[in-house]
Structures are given as C-alpha cells and as structure tokens.
Amino acid sequence: MSSSIPSYNRRKFLKATGIAGGGLLLNFSWLAGQALTPQELAAMPAEWFELNSFVKIAANGAVTLYSANPEFGSNVKTSMPMILADELNVDWQKVTVEQADFFPKRFNRQFTGGSQGIRQGWKPLRTAGATARQMLHEAAAQNWSVPVAEISSANGMLHHKNSGKSASFGEMASLAATLPVPKNVQLKKESEFSIIGKSKKNVDLKNIITGKPLFGIDHKVPGMLYAMIVHPPAFGMRLKSVDAASVKLMPGIKDVFPIKIMNEEYLRNFFDTATFIEMVAIVGNSTWEVMQAKKNLNATWEVAPDTTFKMAGFQGNSTTQTIPGGLESTEGHRKVFEEMRKKPGNILRKDGNPEEAFSKASKIIERTYTAPFLAHNTMEPVNCFAHVTKDKALIYGPTQAPEFIVGTIADRLGMPKENIQINLARMGGGFGLRAYSHHMVEAAVISQKVGAPIKMLYTREDDMTYGIYRPTYTATYRAALDQQNNLLALHVKAGGIPESPLHQNRFPAGAIDNYLAEGWEKSSNITIGAFRAPRSNFIASAEQSFLDELAEAMGKDPIAFRLELLNRAMTNPVGKNNDYDAKRYASVLELVREKSNWNSPSDAGNHKGVSAYFCHNSYVAEVVETSLKNNKLVVEKVVAAVDCGIVVNPDAAINMAEGGIVDGVGNALFGELSFNEGIPDKKNFDQYKMIRQKEAPRKIEVHFVNNGKEPTGLGEPLFPPVFAALANSLYKATGKRFYEQPFLPQLKANEIAV
C-alpha cells in the first residue's frame, strides 16, 4: 500500500442534490442511517467546490474534510483531518468531517491497522492540505491581480497585506477549483502548526453521547430483513445437513438455508481468513424472532478432514495451505509446547558463538513463559448490512480493511469488483479483528439469496466462538552468566499455534555478543488474526519479564541493566539488522525512570515493576505500581513514557494510551480462551472475564517524548509492555514470578483477590 494521493478526475463542483440519492460524495445522510432533518438540509450549502480527494469548500466558507480510513475508536476520524486542516489554514470550528466510503480511485490505503494511519497519512494529508491552500492563494492572487507570494491565509481567510484585501476561502473556492493542481507545495514547519498538537474533541462525540445511529448494527432501510448465521459448534467441524423445516414455520421466519462463503478455487489473500466456509443462514422479520429460530434449528455437524486452499503470494506465486482436521484441545496444545521445546527450532538469528558461551557458563538461568488464545471481544459484535441486486452490491458495516475483502465478495457474488460498493461504518472496536471481513461476504450472500436488503448480526456467542483469535504462544529464555555474573549469551526459543511470536532482530538482539533466536510454529484449525500488536503482545511480556529476573541475578537495577544493554547496542552494536533505534529506546526508559520516581521508595505498600518495548515504530516504557492491601490486588498507578514522534491530538492520544494500558492489565490478569474437543470453553461475558471499572488502574500518567520526529504508531505500542511491567511489580509484591498468562489463577492460589 503506497501512501501517495491517487490522481483522479477532480470535479470542479458538486451539486448538493446528490444527498437524497446517497451519492458517493455527499453520503452522510445514508451513512448515518437516517435522513437529514429539514434544518440540517437547509443548512447544507447548495454547491461544493472540490479541491482534491480530501477537501471541499462551499461558497459560504463551510469546509468538509474526508476521513478516508475506517474508524474503530483510535481517533483517526478526528486526528487525520486535523493534519489536513492545519496545512489548509482553516478554522477547525468550521470543519465538518465526513467519513469517506471505500473509494480506491480517490484514496490509497483505506486501512486501519498496524498503528499506521497517522504515520503513513502524515505526508499525503499534509500535502493534500497544503495543495488546497496553495490553490486558494492562487485564486486570490488572480482575483486581486497581485503576486501569489504576497498572499497569506489563516483561519479560513485569505489576506493581501499591501492592499488590505481579504476574503474567505468560500469566496475563492469556485475559482480555486478550476486551477491546475500545483506539483510542489510548501509544507509548514513544526513551529507553524496551529491545529496539530492542540487537543481537539472527537468529531463524533455529540453523536455518540446522544445515541445517534453510527455503527453498522444501527443501520436500517425500508424492507430490510434480519439475518443470523449458525456456525459449527467446534473448530474442526463442518456442516453435514440442516433441517430447515425445523424452524421455517416459526413466527417471523422468512427463510433458512445453508450458505457457502467462498468458491473452492478462489485464491485467498492474507486477510481472507474464514473459519467456517459453510454455515446456515436464518432470515426473518426481527432480530428476536430470528434468535428464537436459531435456538431451535436442527442441524448436524461432522468432523472435517484436512482441507487445503490456495493463497495468493508475492509476484503471482500462490501457495497451497493445509488446515489440519480433528478436534483440538488446550491440553493437546500444551503437549505440543512441551514437545517443541525439546526439539530444535528454526534458527532465525545467531550472533557470535552462543553454544560455546553456554558450555562455558558458570550459571544458566532458564525460564519458560506461556500465554493462551485470546478473543478480541469487540463490544459491537460482528454484523453487516448488504443489499445485493442483480448486478450490484451495496455493503455497509464494520471493516478495518475493505480492500482485502472486495475481491472476495466480487468473486463469490460473480460480479466485477467495480459493482461492489463498500461503505464504512464507525466500528464498535476493532483491535485487529476487523481486518478480516468475511462477515461482509456472508451478508452479501444472504442478501443475494433472499433478494432483499438484510442486516446480519452475530450473537455474542457466535462472535466469541468463531475464531480469528490471538494465537497461543510460548517462549523459553536462557541466559549464560560467568562467575562474576556477567552476561555471556542469551538464547530464546519461541513458538506458537499457529505462529511464532519472535521478532528476532529486535532488542535485546544487537546488545549481546552471543545471541541465538529460534522459532517454531504448528498449524491448527483454530483461526487466528492480528490482535493489538500481534506477536509483540506476547514476546514483550516474556522478554521483559526475563530481563527483570536476569537483572536481579546479576545484581543490577532493572532499568540500569536495560540501559546498559542499550548503550552497547548504541555504541558497538552486534550484528547488522537491528530493528530499533537504541537511543530512542533508552530515552523512554530514562523518562519513565524520572516520571515514576523509580529511584525513590514507593508509597508504603506499593511495588513498582518496569518494562519497555519497541513496536509499530514507537518506543514505550512503563512502570506499573501495585499494592496488596488486605490481600487484594490494586493496580495503583501506571506511568508510561512514549516516543511516537509528533503527537497530533494529545488528549485523544492519551485516551488511546490509557486504553492500551487498561487492555494490557485486563488481558494479563484475566484474558484466556481454552478449548475442549474444538469447542471454546467461553461463549459470553459471564464466562470470559474482561477488565471492568473496579480492576482498572487507579491512575494512569502518559508522558510523550517531545522530539519533533515524524509521527509513528500509538494504538498498539502501549499494550505489549504492560504484561511484564505488571508481572515484575507482582514479583516485588508477592515474591513470586508470573510465567503463565493469565495471572489470575496464580494470584488465587496465593489467596490474592483481584
């Protein structure tokens, strides 16, 4: 995905008459799921002048900025337009942000994931804003017959100092829209930013707190039917037969039929993860009636054999992937872990001579860490609206990655891609789950079959048990020490079902002379997907817990020890491909040391643990402080130091950081999904323990390193370090190390309540 702005045929102006028809550009009435009120309609400008894919301006000075990326709660719908608005020199108060539909001709990278929105949008959005600003300057210069260099702008107004002339952007927009798009534009200096770096409220805030329809699940059109699916009860099972008659006559039920969501020969892409290719669909007049039929449906399931599918690869090379048959259990997964720990893994990186160093060691420390599968459990369950007619499909629902599903929908419906319109709903959470959007195919297939617009909804139970989980992982770290407790070598062997969590070129690689990293993976029919900082979310916890224990064995302060290693990586790095900037890494540790008062004693009864990690181009160090008053665990405080470069929307960034930390505490303590004969052992929130108000940290402090560097990721990097910072703090509080996630069972065994 490149990050430039695609060139396209700019329209000189747009008539607002498109509103009622739900046109591509002026579609927010449609997106909101309800018609505009007469007052809202009357307030709409009659004409808009479009300066580029992102910016349109009305004669009255109203400015609409498109937010191209899907919004799942990370604030991109506010923060990304802020970048545009700053370069445009517009008054933020006058800006309306409109969610763009999936529109690849106009926008590149309409993808939310990998914490890359702001990072990859930074240049293109600034350029788009500056380009539009330049065109308005040109228009004013032409209009006033003065040199363009003498024009300035601020707050949506154009000025010419010498003549004293000024005009609003709106007055110049019609002329500006006819001018050629400048090739080279001047971007602002950081010191000139007036919106970037100043906290702005979430643009959807009012709609959220008044309960306006914003989400896919809220969508409704006349004649719409309600649909639900029934998927196999266990991983490794498939549909054998369905007795549609068992529920067809129930009140409000329109149709019951099996659906198949992919053609056999379809060449899948990386995000085409579909757990169950065949399911049963039930369609009816209301959610409740369909739910009743779902409960009573007679369907039989059978154990599936090994299956294969083709996956598209780079440069047209496809590979054949095999999904093993059989019913898997957590116990079996544990056995796999034990077997694999004994076998050699794939050597991913080797520096120096680790074997020799270990053979000479006077002391070897070896520790093993594990973590279970996790369900994303977004608050909004999977759902999707679809209206498929003879030759067109309109899809509206939650997705982080429309471009990875549009081809799958097209192939399954037998239509050209161009006839598939995907519109982007605000999502009730994502966390990686919605990068996989087969629910859109399911909805489309159901709508096509019944010949009506439908909204498909998963129950919470469907949602929690259909897969795309965070994988289960294990890692064993070994350290060789000499007699003076100097570190001679480090060895990590890590693997998972079905993927390895290792990032072999990240810290502490590069800081240790003799280093060996081995990985392994074992396939499974339990499907997995990206989950907030994939792989990092586990390996950080293992690595940073181990470093803590190592520091103790070496008689060193945990922060000082890490800084020592980083200093080595900075001044005399081992190996070549070290995938981090040791200086920036060290600076967050130094900052957290200062801000957490690391070197002063904690408040009575409080215990501090530290951890740091680099991922998604950002550096984070965290200190977690816990207490155990009356044998009850309280996370008293978390202090985070973050280097994600320039922070666009500070208060929203802090909100996101707090969210990552709360998520980390929650999953470290409680997160767990295990399996018995392919059946997930938890189906709803009464069984799956999620962090709640009472367990949340009492206080969170977030400190950003102010270094003026280009912005990098924020949604994910706060999450991975929490696990080890908490474990290291719990060690100080209880004298026990925590090797197995979640920590709750061990806490309970020690009679500690949470």
């Binding site: 309600y226 959470g429 998520d663 962090i691 108000q693």
Partner: protein, 152 residues
Amino acid sequence: MAKFQLKINGKTQTVDVDPNTPILWVLRDHLNLVGTKYGCGIAACGACTIHLNGVAVRSCSLPVSSIGTGSITTIEGLSQNADHVLQKAWEEHDVPQCGYCQAGQIMSAAALLKRKPKPSDKDIEDAMNGNLCRCGTYLRIKEAIKTASKNL
C-alpha cells in the same frame, strides 16, 4: 404477538410483538431507537442499559410484557439538547474511544447520580462495574462522573 403501549422518553408508543421480546429489540428493531446497544444479551455487559422508572436496567433481559405502565428512558431521551450534566461532562473529558459502550455507561451513571448525587469512588465503581468498556475508557468515565456530580 400482542400489542403493548409503552411510555418511552415521554411519548406513548404502540408495538405489536412477541411478549417475550426483550425491550432492547423492541427499541432497536421496532421503534428505531438504536442508541441502546446489544453487547451480550445476558445482562453481563451493560451496553443495553436504559432507565425503567428512573432505575438503570439491562434492556436485553427485560421482556416487553414486564414493562406494564412503567416509563422508559433511553439515551435518546436523556436530554433535549445533549445537555444532561453527564453528557456535558462526557464532552469535557472526551471520554469515548469507539463509543459503542458509552450510551450504556451514561445511562448507568445517570441512574447513579439520581440515587446519589455525591457518589464516592466506591459508589462509582460499584454502580459502573456492570458496564464493560472494551476500549478501556474507565478512568475517564470515573472522572466524568465526578465532574458531573460537581456540576449538579
């Protein structure tokens, strides 16, 4: 199917539905009041919280037939102009991330303040513990409730 006359946000509305239908789905599917959210269907997440006679209840687990003459308030009816003291506090603290749980959070908090205009931290934690926020906005929720309490 049976007819029910419901008092919702100060208006009387008639619906013809299965008497077992939870009021959540009556609001969402039949009355187009979609601010009240579905999260679990078993009274375990709080996303569907509404007021029945001023008390917070989980609408997913309340059959329409049990409402009788009770008066229901949903997020849409909490205030006329988004100016309930909690809505204002939510704005001040810019609480939401994805936003999905927030109507339920606000409705739980509103019932709390009605009962206890000056809640302690513990009161807030007790009253809000039934409302999940997967995005983890718990600290802001707490702060916003305290702000609202001050501004009452």
